[in-house]
């Protein structure tokens, strides 16, 4: 893989990198900066990308590590959930008929994931949203696969606890009662 090869793929990957950056940083300006820096780093190091590594998960990994470094630099260990831009928690109306219950449910799922601690959220985003395997996720986050699985299990326990009370139905819990979405 060369910078030239990767540079041809970046414009196509951009929407997914942007969405991922927004979802891990929770801030538009941070996300823009993050994607740009990650692309520069990616291009500089394209020769290290092995033929058998998926370029997209490799770029996710650079976005993620760039963000972690940024957080360290700011001495922010974990952004408080108060800082989240709640606009991101809204969902759009789908032209295909979706019931208000589904729309509310989707908003609750997104909120439940976004409220996870950073490390667990990254694993959930990569596995459940981006569809990476456990091993690809481990590679992307540069952690052992056991860590991926234990973060995933903690994240799912937390999310399960929110949804277990009313299976298959929107939750009543105050923090999730976003009527605006329905």
């Amino acid at each position: 893989m060369t910078g030239a090869d990767l540079s041809g793929m970046l414009p196509e990957m951009l929407p997914r990198l942007w969405a991922f950056a927004l979802r891990i940083s929770g801030d538009q300006h941070d996300a823009e900066d993050l994607v740009q820096r990650a692309c520069v780093r990616g291009l500089e190091r394209a020769h290290q990308l092995q033929a058998d590594t998926a370029p997209l998960s490799w770029m996710f990994s650079i976005v993620h590590s760039t963000w972690i470094n940024e957080l360290r630099a700011r001495s922010v260990r974990s952004r408080s959930s108060m800082e989240w831009d709640d606009d991101f928690l809204e969902t759009v109306e789908d032209p295909k008929a979706r019931t208000p219950e589904q729309i509310t449910m989707n908003a609750q799922i997104i909120e439940a994931v976004q409220r996870l601690p950073d490390a667990q959220r990254a694993v959930m985003l990569l596995v459940a949203v981006e569809g990476l395997s456990y091993s690809e996720t481990a590679e992307t986050l540069n952690v052992p696969i056991g860590t991926v699985m234990s973060r995933l299990s903690r994240a799912r326990q937390a999310i399960g606890a929110l949804f277990a009370s009313k299976p298959g139905q929107p939750m009543k819990m105050a923090t999730f009662g976003k009527d605006s979405a329905s």
């Binding site: 927004l22 020769h47 033929a51 990994s61 799922i109 949203v129 690809e136 994240a155 326990q157 277990a164």
Partner: protein, 311 residues
């Protein structure tokens, strides 16, 4: 015995073998705590991809699109090919794939790693799609549609491909002897587009000597799986199977599963498996034609537009 959460998660996701399952079910009888934890994992099986596909995100800023385009152009013209090798800059290794790429994972976790996320209830088929080595053994993103020139050897098959190949092995020419009413097939195609949300195109392979026989809506792990069956002039039927899969495109790869030849690829968020009795039809060639859309479509309602990747 104290069952740890990772094992329990694998239990709920159906990833344990019979012995391991029984072990947990025995524990379950006298541990209310265990039942509670299982309930939490079950409740966490949610349509995440579907939900996030609905998330209202700000569009990619124009300034960013422009900068990345510039950056790409600069690199495309300025970089000369550098052979892959050890990193020159030691600090550059922080976000890079580990050195043991290609080695099999360690045995104890293997069974847990086989599927990435079969618990993505009602979500798209991506969840059942990630083999251990998955993407990594295959050529990169750019394999399709431009350069489907080579057919790579494949990684271990995805669970749905294994299932589809096993199913196909039961087919004989007699299975599809009775012709399906074209109106029924057209209705099935419409349902696949509208209800299953799969923009599947039914390739007309008559010029290649394969007669369309029928199209069926199957399910694998609760996700739609489309099976299109053709009959070649001789030998067993050939099936083109399709599931939704939001991962990047992947070029053609060929392998043998039991006694079936299987060619797989991924294109525009659909994963394809072309399956036939070994050694009868050149499936690699056929797969290339289908992937490059060098053949006409039957029942040709325009397929639904593919869901935008990250909106």
């Amino acid at each position: 015995m104290k069952v740890d959460d990772i094992t329990l998660m694998a239990y709920v996701d159906g990833e344990l073998d019979i012995e391991e399952r029984r072990e947990i079910e025995r524990e379950l009888d006298d541990s209310p705590d265990l039942a509670e934890r299982i309930e939490l994992f079950r409740a966490s099986s949610l349509p995440y991809q579907d939900a996030f596909a609905q998330q209202k995100l700000p569009p990619v800023p124009e300034s960013l699109t422009r900068k990345i385009a510039e950056l790409s152009r600069t690199h495309a013209s300025a970089t000369s090919p550098v052979p892959p090798g050890p990193a020159a800059d030691p600090a550059a290794n922080d976000a890079i794939a580990p050195p043991n790429i290609g080695l099999p994972p360690s045995a104890p976790v293997r069974s847990l790693m086989r599927f990435s996320a079969p618990w993505l209830a009602a979500a798209f088929a991506a969840g059942v799609f990630s083999c251990v080595v998955g993407l990594r053994l295959l050529p990169g993103l750019t394999g399709l549609p431009g350069g489907a020139a080579t057919v790579a050897s494949a990684p271990p098959a995805s669970p749905w491909v294994m299932a589809a190949a096993g199913y196909q092995a039961l087919y004989s020419r007699d299975t599809v002897a009775v012709a399906t009413d074209p109106a029924v097939s057209a209705k099935t195609v419409a349902d696949i587009h509208q209800i299953d949300g799969l923009p599947v195109r039914v390739p007309d392979l008559s010029a290649q000597g394969l007669t369309f026989k029928r199209i069926q809506r199957l399910r694998f792990h609760d996700k739609p799986l489309v099976q299109i069956v053709y009959l070649p002039k001789t030998g067993g039927p050939v099936a083109l199977c399709v599931v939704k899969d939001a991962k990047p495109d992947q070029s053609l790869a060929q392998q043998k599963i039991n006694d079936m030849d299987v060619v797989t690829w991924r294109q525009s968020e659909l994963s394809y498996a072309l399956i036939g009795t070994a050694g009868q039809v050149d499936l690699g060639q056929l797969g290339k034609l289908i992937a490059k859309r060098d053949v006409d479509a039957m029942f040709s309602q325009a397929p639904l537009p593919v869901r935008p990747v990250a909106s």
